[in-house]
C-alpha cells in the first residue's frame, strides 16, 4: 500500500482511487552549487567527522561530490580541534580519535574554503534516560509474526519517528541476527509532540527492521539532540520521509545552523549506550 492509498483509499473505498504517477521532470533552475555541511561533535571518544559537499539538481543523477581543500576545525573556547580530509573520500574531514565533547559545552565549527568562511555553533545537551527495554516491543514498534521457516525468529519493525518523548533523541539499535549471524542495525528518532503528517506516514514505504529471538543481545545507543537540531531533523523528515500525504505541510526550505548561506547542520550530542537481552515474554511467547 502506497503512502497515498493508505489514507485516501480507505475513506473512499470503492468510489475513489488515489494514484501516484511519475511525472516527467524539468529542472526549474541551475543548481546554485552551495556548500552543504554535515558534521557532529559527541561525548564519544572518537574521530569526529564533517562532510562537505555541494548542492545538486532537484533530482540528482549522480551523488553529490565532496568538497576538497577546505580548512576545517572545531573550536571549544581556546581549544581548536583540526579536521583533516580523508585521502580516499573527498569531502570527508575528521579529527583525531581522541576528541571528546562535554555535556553543557559549546562548540563551533569553522570552515575556510577559498575566500569564503562558514561557521556553526552547537551545544551538547544531556541525553534522556533510557526507558524500560520492554517498551521497545510495544507500539508503535511492530513485532511481526515469526519469519517463515523459523518459528522462534521475529522481525521487529521500527517507525521512522517515535512520538511523545520528553526530549528529542536519536536511538540506534544493533544486534546480531539469529539466522545468518550478520550484524544488523536500525534507528529512529524520538520527537516530542505529534506532527500529523509524520504520524500518518510513519510506516509507509520501507521501514528499518531487526531480526531477533529470545536471548538476542541488543545494543542501544542514544544521542541527545538540541532543540534546533531536532527542528532541523523534523523539517528534513517533513520534506523527505513524510512528504506525500494528505496532511502534508507547506513545502519550505530546511534551515540549518551554518552561516554564510551554506546548507546542512553541525550538531552536538551526549551519547549513552546500554545492552539488554531480549526476553521471551517480550515476544509474546
Amino acid at each position: 500500500m502506497t503512502k497515498w492509498t493508505l489514507l485516501v483509499y480507505l475513506p473512499m473505498m470503492m468510489e475513489l482511487m488515489s494514484c501516484v504517477e511519475e511525472l516527467a521532470w524539468q529542472e526549474r533552475g541551475p543548481a546554485t552549487n552551495r556548500l552543504v555541511v554535515e558534521g557532529s561533535i559527541t561525548t564519544e571518544r572518537k574521530a569526529h567527522t564533517v562532510n562537505l559537499s555541494r548542492t545538486t539538481p532537484a533530482i540528482p543523477t549522480e551523488a553529490a561530490t565532496g568538497v576538497s581543500g577546505a580548512i576545517v576545525s572545531i573550536v571549544h573556547g581556546t581549544t581548536r580541534f583540526p579536521l583533516y580530509e580523508v585521502d580516499t573520500i573527498p569531502g570527508l574531514y575528521r579529527t583525531d580519535s581522541t576528541v571528546v565533547g562535554e555535556v553543557g559545552q559549546t562548540y563551533t565549527l569553522q570552515i575556510e574554503l577559498g575566500p569564503a568562511s562558514y561557521s556553526a555553533t552547537t551545544t551538547i545537551e544531556p541525553v534522556l534516560d533510557f526507558e524500560s527495554p520492554a517498551l521497545l516491543f510495544a507500539s508503535p514498534n511492530r513485532l511481526g509474526n515469526p519469519i517463515r521457516g523459523n518459528l522462534t525468529v521475529f522481525e521487529l519493525e521500527f517507525p521512522k519517528v517515535r512520538y511523545g518523548a520528553a526530549t528529542p533523541v536519536r536511538d540506534i539499535f544493533s544486534a546480531q541476527e539469529p539466522i545468518g549471524l550478520q550484524w544488523m542495525s536500525a534507528f529512529y528518532y524520538q520527537f516530542p509532540g505529534i506532527d500529523p503528517e509524520g504520524f500518518l506516514l510513519n510506516f509507509s514505504g520501507a521501514n528499518q527492521t531487526l531480526l531477533l529471538q529470545a536471548g538476542t543481545v541488543i545494543t542501544q545507543t542514544r544521542y541527545s539532540l538540541t532543540d534546533s537540531h531536532y527542528r532541523f531533523i523534523r523539517d528534513v523528515y517533513a520534506e523527505t520521509q513524510f512528504r506525500g500525504g494528505v496532511f502534508d505541510r507547506m513545502p519550505a526550505n530546511v534551515k540549518g545552523n551554518i552561516s554564510n548561506g551554506a546548507l546542512g547542520f553541525f550538531s552536538g550530542s551526549q551519547v549513552a549506550q546500554r545492552s539488554f537481552v531480549v526476553q521471551k515474554s517480550w515476544l509474546g511467547q
Binding site: 500500500m1 497515498w4 493508505l6 489514507l7 485516501v8 480507505l10 475513506p11 473512499m12 473505498m13 470503492m14 475513489l16 482511487m17 488515489s18 501516484v20 504517477e21 511519475e22 511525472l23 526549474r28 533552475g29 543548481a31 546554485t32 552551495r34 552543504v36 554535515e38 559537499s53 548542492t55 545538486t56 539538481p57 532537484a58 540528482p60 553529490a64 507500539s139 511523545g164 516530542p192 509532540g193 505529534i194 506532527d195 500529523p196 504520524f199 510513519n202 514505504g205 520501507a206 523534523r234 523539517d235 528534513v236 520534506e239 523527505t240 520521509q241 512528504r243 506525500g244 496532511f247 502534508d248 505541510r249 507547506m250 513545502p251 519550505a252 530546511v254 546548507l263 546542512g264 547542520f265
Partner: protein, 870 residues
C-alpha cells in the same frame, strides 16, 4: 311581522345599493394603452360602460393620464386615472359622480398612507420565500421579502396592482384596494421542471432588474440537486465552487477562497449559527444535507451591514422550515454519501411545521470485504453521520419562533496506524420573530456553535491525544424598518462569546496550548434607499468591538519569537480590546430598463483565525485562534464595479464585474511551523499584507428547458509577509489566474433531466524544488521563491442524468435514479506534485529511485444513486 320586515328592509336596502355599486364598478372595460386627458378618458369609459358621469368642470379635466393596463375593471381604471388627485367618485344608480374630496377633520387622513404586509410562501410546502419581489405597478415601486419571507409596503390609499415574483415560481398578480392597513399572505406556485413561464410586464422587469445583485449569488436546493455532483452526491459547497470569483485548493475539497481571501475568511452561517469546519470525509463532502436546505446565498462583496466577522465573504445557508401543508419525506442512497432521509410536516394544525433529516455512510460492508483481502484493514472504521432539526411555530399574528440545530461527526479509526481522528460540528439557533408594528420587523436570535476534533493514538505505549475546540454562544437582535417602498432601514446588535481551546493533551499538560476567551460585539445600521427611479443606494455602518477576556495565560515574545515573559489574567477580566468601524456602500444606477451598473465598497474585520500549515485544504487539524495582544485582526477593504444586463425577457442575465481587495494583517505561519502540540503557538504566526484583484464575467440562463450558467474569471491573489519568502511578494496558494466553468441543466422531458459541469482553471501555485542537498543519506529539496511554480491546468467534465420513475395513480412515492459520470474524459488532474521516492505502481522496491510524483485523487467515476420523495 311588520316590524321584522321593516328591520329586514333596513338591512337589505344598503346591501342592495352596495351590490349595485359593486356591479357597476367591477364591470370589465377594455381601453387601449394610451395617454389622454382625464376628460377624454371619462368619455371613453362612459361609452364602454354604458353609464353617465357627472362632474364639475372645476375638476382637473385636462390633466394627462395614462392607461397602463388595457383590461381591467371600471374601478381600476378610475383608481389609476385619479391616483394622487383629491377627487373621489360615488355611484348613484346608473350614474357616477366625480367630485372633490370633502375636507375632513384630519387633512392627512384622505391621503394617509396605509401598510400592506405579510409573508410570501411556496404554495405547495408553505415555505417562506426569501428575496421574493413585490412590485406595485401604479407607483413603479416595490420591495423584497426578508430572510423570513416577510414584506411590508406603505403606500397612499388606493387600488393597486401588486405583482409578486420569485425565481422558480409563477408570478402572481393581485388587484388590491388599500383603504386601511392590511395583512396579505401570498402563495406562489412553483414552476415545474424549471419551465418558468415568466410573463413580465415592462414595469415589473424594471423592478426586477434593479433587484439583481452583483457580488452575490443565490442558489436554491433544486438548482444544487440538478448539478452533476461528485459520485452523485449533490453538495452545497461544491456548487459554490463553480461560481465566479470562487477558487479552491485541490480536488475534492470543501475549502474555498473568495476573491483571493483565505480559506478561513468566509463566514459560513447555518440558520445564523457559524460553522467552523464544513467538511465530511476530509472535505469530499460538506456537512450540509441538501435535503434539509432551502437556499444558499453567497456574498462576495457589497456585504450588508448585518454581516461581519470574516474578511472575504458570507455564505448564508437557510434550512427548510418544513412543509406546513402535509407530511412529506425525501431521501436517497448513494455510495459516497450513504443513506439520507428527511421528513417534514405540519405542526399544531398548520400553526407550525418541522423538518428532521439525517445522513449516515455505510462503509462497513466495504471495509469488511476489504479486511478479507487485507488483514491490516481489520477494525477500521471510516464513516460520518449528521442530523438537522428545525421547528417553527406561529404564536400569533405578531410572533413566531424557530428552533433549528445541526449535529454531525466524522469518525475515522485506523488500527493499521494506531490512529483515531474524530471531528464534528454542533450548532443551534432559537429565533423569535416579532412584529413591533406594521413596518417594524424584528428577529431575536440565541445561537450556539461548537467545532471540535480529536486526534488519538490509543494503542501507543504511552497513549496520547490532541484535542482542539471552539465554541460560540451569542445573541442577535435584528430590526428591519420598512419606512416606505423607497426606503428600508435595518439595524441591530450582535454579541458572541468565543471560547477557544486551541489544543489540549490529556496525557501531557506540557503540550497544552492555553485557552482563550473573547467577546465580539457588533452594532450596525443599514439603509436601502431608492434615491431616484434609476438610482438605488445601500449604505451601512458596522462597528465591532473585540475583547479578550480571562482566564488566560498570555505569553510575551521577543522579535525572534522567543518567550520573554508571561501574564496570567483572572477569569472575566478584559485584558485587550480591538475595535473598528466597517463602512459599507453600494450604489446601483439603472441605465435602462434591463441594465444597470453597480459599485460597492466594503470594509470587514476578522478577529477569529484558522491556523493551518497544510499544503492542501484538508482542514481536520486546523486550529482556530482569536486575535489578541500579539495578533491583530485582519482588515479587508474591497471595491468593486460591475455591469449587469438582462436579455430575452429576463431569460438571460449577463454581468461583468471587477474588484480590488486589500487585506491588512494577513495571517500566515512561518516555514515549517509546528501548530499542534505547541504551547507557544503565537510564535509561529506572521502577519503582513495581502491583495487581490480580478474580473468576473457571468452569464446565466434562468428559465426554460435549458438553464445554467457560464463564467470566466481572471483573478490574482498575492501575499507579502515579512519573514516569509524573504519578505518578497508571493502568489497565494489558491491564486488561479484563469477560471472557466460551465453548468447546465436540461429538462429533456417530464421525467428526464440532464446535467453538465465543465471546469477549467489555471493550475494552482505550488512550491517545487529548484535543487537539493544530501543530508543523512536523504535528498532534501531546496525551494526557490514561494509558490513560484504551477500545477498543470485543471479541467474536468461531469455529466448526470436524473430519471424519474413513472408516476402511478394513487401512489405518493416518487423515485428517481441519478446516474453520474464524474471526470468523463478521465483527466488525471494533479492534487499535488512532489519530488520523492518513486511511489508509482511501476516502481521497483529493490531499487528505490528519486522521481517527481504526480498525485491525483481519481480519474473517471461512474456512480448511481437513488432519490425518493413521498
Amino acid at each position: 311581522m311588520r316590524t321584522l320586515c321593516g328591520v329586514l328592509w333596513l338591512i337589505l336596502m344598503p346591501i342592495s345599493a352596495l351590490y349595485g355599486q359593486h356591479t357597476i364598478l367591477d364591470k370589465p372595460i377594455h381601453l387601449p394603452k394610451t395617454t389622454a386627458t382625464l376628460e377624454q378618458l371619462l368619455g371613453a369609459l362612459s361609452q364602454q360602460a354604458q353609464i353617465s358621469f357627472s362632474y364639475s368642470n372645476q375638476l382637473p379635466l385636462r390633466k394627462q393620464v395614462t392607461v397602463r393596463q388595457a383590461d381591467q375593471t371600471l374601478r381600476s381604471h378610475l383608481d389609476d386615472a385619479l391616483l394622487g388627485q383629491s377627487v373621489e367618485y360615488i355611484v348613484r344608480g346608473n350614474k357616477l359622480i366625480l367630485r372633490f374630496r370633502p375636507p375632513t377633520a384630519n387633512p392627512d387622513s384622505a391621503t394617509r398612507n396605509v401598510t400592506l404586509r405579510g409573508y410570501v410562501r411556496d404554495s405547495a410546502s408553505g415555505e417562506a420565500l426569501m428575496g421574493a419581489s413585490l412590485y406595485i405597478q401604479e407607483v413603479a415601486m416595490g420591495t423584497t421579502t426578508n430572510t423570513y419571507g416577510f414584506y411590508s409596503l406603505t403606500v397612499p390609499r388606493h387600488t393597486y396592482t401588486l405583482i409578486v415574483s420569485h425565481m422558480g415560481y409563477r408570478p402572481v398578480s393581485k388587484r388590491i384596494r388599500l383603504i386601511e392597513d392590511h395583512r396579505m399572505d401570498i402563495q406562489l406556485p412553483a414552476t415545474t421542471h424549471q419551465l418558468a413561464e415568466v410573463v413580465v410586464s415592462s414595469g415589473t422587469s424594471s423592478h426586477l432588474g434593479a433587484a439583481s445583485l452583483l457580488s452575490s449569488h443565490r442558489l436554491d436546493a433544486a438548482t444544487i440537486r440538478q448539478m452533476p455532483a461528485l459520485a452523485g452526491e449533490p453538495d452545497v459547497l461544491k456548487s459554490i465552487q463553480l461560481l465566479p470569483g470562487v477558487t479552491t485548493v485541490g480536488e475534492g475539497s470543501t475549502g474555498f477562497s473568495v476573491r483571493g481571501g483565505g480559506l478561513d475568511q468566509n463566514l459560513i452561517l447555518l440558520d445564523e449559527a457559524p460553522v467552523y469546519n464544513p467538511s465530511h470525509f476530509l472535505g469530499f463532502l460538506s456537512v450540509f444535507n441538501t435535503d434539509a436546505i432551502k437556499e444558499v446565498t453567497l456574498y462576495k462583496g457589497g456585504i450588508p451591514a448585518q454581516y461581519g466577522g470574516r474578511a472575504s465573504s458570507v455564505l448564508a445557508i437557510q434550512l427548510k422550515e418544513g412543509n406546513t401543508n402535509q407530511f412529506r419525506a425525501t431521501g436517497g442512497v448513494g455510495l459516497l454519501g450513504g443513506a439520507r432521509l428527511a421528513v417534514e410536516g405540519p405542526l399544531a394544525s398548520g400553526k407550525g411545521s418541522y423538518i428532521v433529516s439525517g445522513r449516515r455512510t455505510f462503509t462497513e460492508p466495504f471495509l469488511w470485504l476489504g479486511a478479507l483481502a487485507d488483514s491490516t484493514l481489520r477494525g477500521t472504521h471510516v464513516n460520518f453521520y449528521d442530523g438537522n432539526l428545525k421547528l417553527n411555530y406561529t404564536l400569533n399574528e405578531k410572533n413566531k419562533v424557530y428552533l433549528s440545530g445541526y449535529f454531525g461527526r466524522d469518525m475515522n479509526r485506523l488500527p493499521l496506524l494506531d490512529y483515531q481522528i474524530q471531528w464534528g460540528n454542533t450548532t443551534g439557533t432559537l429565533r423569535w420573530n416579532h412584529l413591533f408594528s406594521q413596518r417594524l420587523f424584528s428577529n431575536f436570535t440565541l445561537l450556539y456553535s461548537r467545532y471540535q476534533y480529536r486526534l488519538a493514538t490509543p494503542a501507543a505505549a504511552v497513549p496520547f491525544s490532541w484535542e482542539s475546540a471552539i465554541a460560540d454562544q451569542g445573541g442577535k437582535a435584528d430590526f428591519t424598518w420598512f419606512v416606505s417602498p423607497r426606503c428600508t432601514v435595518s439595524f441591530g446588535l450582535h454579541s458572541v462569546y468565543h471560547q477557544v481551546k486551541p489544543g489540549q493533551n490529556r496525557a501531557n499538560p506540557a503540550f497544552r496550548v492555553p485557552g482563550r476567551q473573547a467577546l465580539e460585539t457588533a452594532l450596525y445600521a443599514g439603509l436601502d434607499m431608492k434615491v431616484r427611479a434609476s438610482l438605488r443606494l445601500e449604505a451601512g455602518l458596522r462597528y465591532t468591538l473585540f475583547q479578550n477576556m480571562g482566564q488566560a495565560l498570555v505569553y510575551q515574545y521577543n522579535q525572534v519569537g522567543r518567550v520573554v515573559d508571561s501574564v496570567t489574567y483572572g477569569a472575566g477580566r478584559i485584558y485587550h480590546t480591538y475595535s473598528g468601524a466597517e463602512p459599507r456602500l453600494s450604489l446601483r444606477y439603472q441605465l435602462a430598463e434591463n441594465q444597470s451598473i453597480k459599485m460597492s465598497y466594503t470594509r470587514l474585520y476578522q478577529y477569529m483565525h484558522q491556523l493551518t500549515n497544510s499544503s492542501l485544504s484538508f482542514t481536520a487539524f486546523d486550529i482556530w485562534y482569536p486575535s489578541g495582544p500579539g495578533l491583530p485582526p485582519i482588515r479587508s477593504d474591497q471595491v468593486s464595479l460591475g455591469y449587469v444586463r438582462s436579455l430575452g425577457n429576463r431569460q438571460w442575465e449577463v454581468s461583468l464585474e471587477g474588484y480590488y481587495k486589500d487585506i491588512a494583517h494577513q495571517l500566515d505561519v512561518r516555514d515549517h511551523a509546528q501548530l499542534t502540540f505547541n504551547p507557544y503557538l503565537e510564535a509561529e504566526l506572521r502577519t503582513g499584507r495581502g491583495w487581490s484583484y480580478g474580473l468576473e464575467f457571468f452569464v446565466r440562463k434562468q428559465t426554460g428547458r435549458l438553464t445554467g450558467w457560464a463564467n470566466y474569471t481572471f483573478s490574482r491573489a498575492w501575499r507579502q509577509i515579512p519573514a516569509i519568502n524573504e519578505g518578497n511578494a508571493y502568489p497565494a496558494l489558491f491564486d488561479q489566474p484563469h477560471k472557466v466553468s460551465l453548468t447546465a441543466g436540461y429538462t429533456a422531458s417530464k421525467r428526464v433531466t440532464l446535467g453538465l459541469n465543465w471546469l477549467y482553471n489555471t493550475g494552482g501555485a505550488i512550491n517545487l524544488p529548484v535543487e537539493s542537498f544530501t543530508y543523512d543519506n536523504q535528498n532534501v529539496p531546496v525551494y526557490g521563491a514561494r509558490n513560484a511554480s504551477r500545477l498543470p491546468d485543471y479541467h474536468r467534465l461531469d455529466l448526470s442524468a436524473t430519471i424519474q420513475q413513472p408516476p402511478k395513480p394513487g401512489r405518493r412515492w416518487q423515485g428517481s435514479w441519478v446516474y453520474t459520470l464524474t471526470n468523463v474524459y478521465a483527466r488525471k488532474n494533479p492534487l499535488t506534485i512532489y519530488v520523492g521516492e518513486d511511489l508509482s505502481a511501476t516502481r521497483n522496491p529493490a531499487q528505490p529511485r528519486l522521481v517527481a510524483n504526480r498525485v491525483y485523487l481519481f480519474s473517471i467515476i461512474p456512480s448511481v444513486s437513488y432519490q425518493f420523495t413521498f
